[in-house]
Symmetry: C2
Subunit: 166 residues, 2 copies
């Protein structure tokens, strides 16, 4: 395991928010070019992915899944609709803005996936496919844990010293 040169940096790396930020920064740097080459922003790319893996979704669900605030999502809807990548779907509840990918949107997303797949496989090979899978599970479970904490925050959990630090 590659230990950082100095203890001070090692301590810094034990900060969870910072470790998440830095890992995300590196990963984004790797994959962003594949999104931007299609004149998409990263949030737009997340919306396309979410829709590609669903049928149709409403704004609230997309906002939650893609971590985009409603005002930003409104702008993103406008942009993607103008480019013919998404289209509104009629909904029983007229308050809901429900959208789906158009054929053009599906095609563009598939292009992004195919172009970026080699890089993803290279990363997986270098990092270790099993470790990557472990990391994905831990990330999703961390999120679930935080969300659960928000709900029952009266409960007293037994505390102990841990290596990490906010």
């Amino acid at each position: 395991m590659p230990e950082p040169a100095n203890k001070e940096l090692r301590k810094f790396e034990k900060s969870l928010p910072i470790a998440l930020l830095r890992a995300r920064e590196a990963t984004t740097r790797l994959f962003k070019p594949f999104i931007e080459s299609h004149d998409l922003t990263m949030p737009q790319g997340r919306v396309l992915r979410a829709l590609a893996e669903a049928d149709a979704l409403d704004a609230k669900t997309l906002a939650e899944r893609c971590v985009i605030l409603p005002p930003s999502l409104t702008r993103i809807f406008r942009g993607l609709t103008q480019r013919g990548l998404i289209a509104q779907v009629p909904c029983n509840d007229a308050r809901r803005h429900m959208v789906r990918l158009t054929a053009k949107g599906h095609a563009m997303f598939e292009e992004v996936v195919q172009e970026s797949e080699p890089t993803y496989l290279r990363l997986a090979a270098a990092f270790g496919p099993e470790r990557l899978d472990t990391l994905l599970d831990l990330l999703n479970e961390l999120r679930n844990t935080v969300q659960t904490m928000g709900e029952d925050c009266e409960e007293e959990a037994p505390l102990r010293k841990v290596a990490g630090r906010c």
Copy 2:
């Protein structure tokens, strides 16, 4: 392990950039109040932490460690200096802007740590201290892997299908 309700969401969660983003969003939501209650932004908080765990650092090192671009860092220096939280340190190389925490800066950072520590311990207890440590290691190693990939990108690695996806 809590499986998501539908297969479509499960697939969405296998996207590494999105999993990183969502985990970071949840973690940030948990700890941000402790930073903001001291009228600090998250980037400012990262700078304080980096300086608290070092002696003095120059702008370039801080920019890299805290994932802040130089122009933002210039503004952050200005703000933190005006508030008396950091101070410039003379340096042999007159091009370098080197700073350290003042006593006031140290005191404020310690306040943040002490106030947020219970929440961090609660999270560690809920998530599992060992798993949290594993997650931190994986995040830092992922970043190293990506950085190494950037260097020797001619090398052909053996590819295989993996569970995750960009």
